[in-house]
Symmetry: C2
Subunit: 223 residues, 2 copies
Amino acid sequence: MKNLLSVLKISVPEKIFIKDPETSDLGKRIIEHSIILIDEIGFESFTFKKLGSKIGSNESSIYRYFESKHKLLLYLSSWYWAWLEYQLVIETFSISNKQEKLEKAIKVVTRTVKEDNNFSHINETVLYKIIVNESSKSFFTKEVDAENKEGYFEVYKRLVSRLEVMITEVKPNYEYSLSLASTIIEGALHQHFLNEHFPTITSCKKGKTPTNFFIHLVNSNLK
Amino acid sequence: MKNLLSVLKISVPEKIFIKDPETSDLGKRIIEHSIILIDEIGFESFTFKKLGSKIGSNESSIYRYFESKHKLLLYLSSWYWAWLEYQLVIETFSISNKQEKLEKAIKVVTRTVKEDNNFSHINETVLYKIIVNESSKSFFTKEVDAENKEGYFEVYKRLVSRLEVMITEVKPNYEYSLSLASTIIEGALHQHFLNEHFPTITSCKKGKTPTNFFIHLVNSNLK
DNA sequence: CAAATATAATAGTATTACTATCATAATTCG
DNA sequence: CGAATTATGATAGTAATACTATTATATTTG
């Protein structure tokens, strides 16, 4: 994976940023440390001023890359979903058995990101924590519909669609494949959150993972 | 329902408020209009100052009821879950067939709140919209664990537990009943959100409701 | 009717989420 | 190489936010 990604670039919708952070050293430091800082203090308390002082740069310089911290969150989310999509595609590509392929897909989209793949400045393990805890704030806004029209959520929607296709392959006449796909992806994040903060309302603990839960759910559903 | 609730009072954990808004006219107006205003402008743009001018009262007076707008959101969420719990209990109480009872329970917790039951100053239809769009912000914070210890999420967790009990009644040896219960409750909100904002990634449209989806899912799962 | 309590009015504070301007450093290109 | 362009930094400023504090005025209760 490391080798492949050294030639590929995770692609995020262009309208999300003013200047592509991948094109400069400062840009990369913005991304790298925004992930760390948001994880540390939470998205609400996160400001460009604080980030600036963390990376020894200026607030105004960060504004040259992102219009607002909301746009930065959109960037991080899109990046994560694109990265997951990439993994989904390569890890299922060569599997011809439909059932097996779907099972692998569920594994990929529901597993906890624990190891840092660090082919880049982005720490995926920490980014994953942000996705679990903060990413929904990127769409629970009054501007969702306008931003959706601008294509800000394309990557996420494409990932759901890819999973949906695999579900439909296994059970062509199933009426709720899209809802099942979106439930798996969002539900896995939610179960991870519950495991960490509200363990009394999740079965996912001691070896029982969200992956186990969703594979079991899908298997008995599509039989 | 209207009659029963005129003697009952929806009970919200006491630590959430400074002064119980149910005990005064101003308090009730705060709740009534905060729901309308949050729905109108979104939780981010909502302020006590704006609410004050809407209800012809003063910012400082609202602070005597709630420490912060975050606490107000916790109040509204708890109120909603308590109201749902109440409906869950009465609507399933007399059903002795376990399968049928569970199905009714899923209906109650996944249905769209469309009609206003207006036994009180609270418009449940609008409150439901807030739950779909804003309520997750009440737990996606750096203070969740501390607030969880204070009991702020008790009502929500109790609702999940009640559903879990009914699932276990139908299939005692099922390993993931808690995760299934939490997935149904959170997942239904998510599907409602998708239906409104990202219709391309949900099957729930034109007569196909989140209720249909989850009932189908659970039925084929627990068979 | 006095005392207690609730509400309103006003002021003040540190911080936020920016925008604008100007200076300086680094890069590119003829 | 030197000029022009572009990127970054420093500073200042603004309206709004999320409060706290104080004092005044209603309203309720005993």
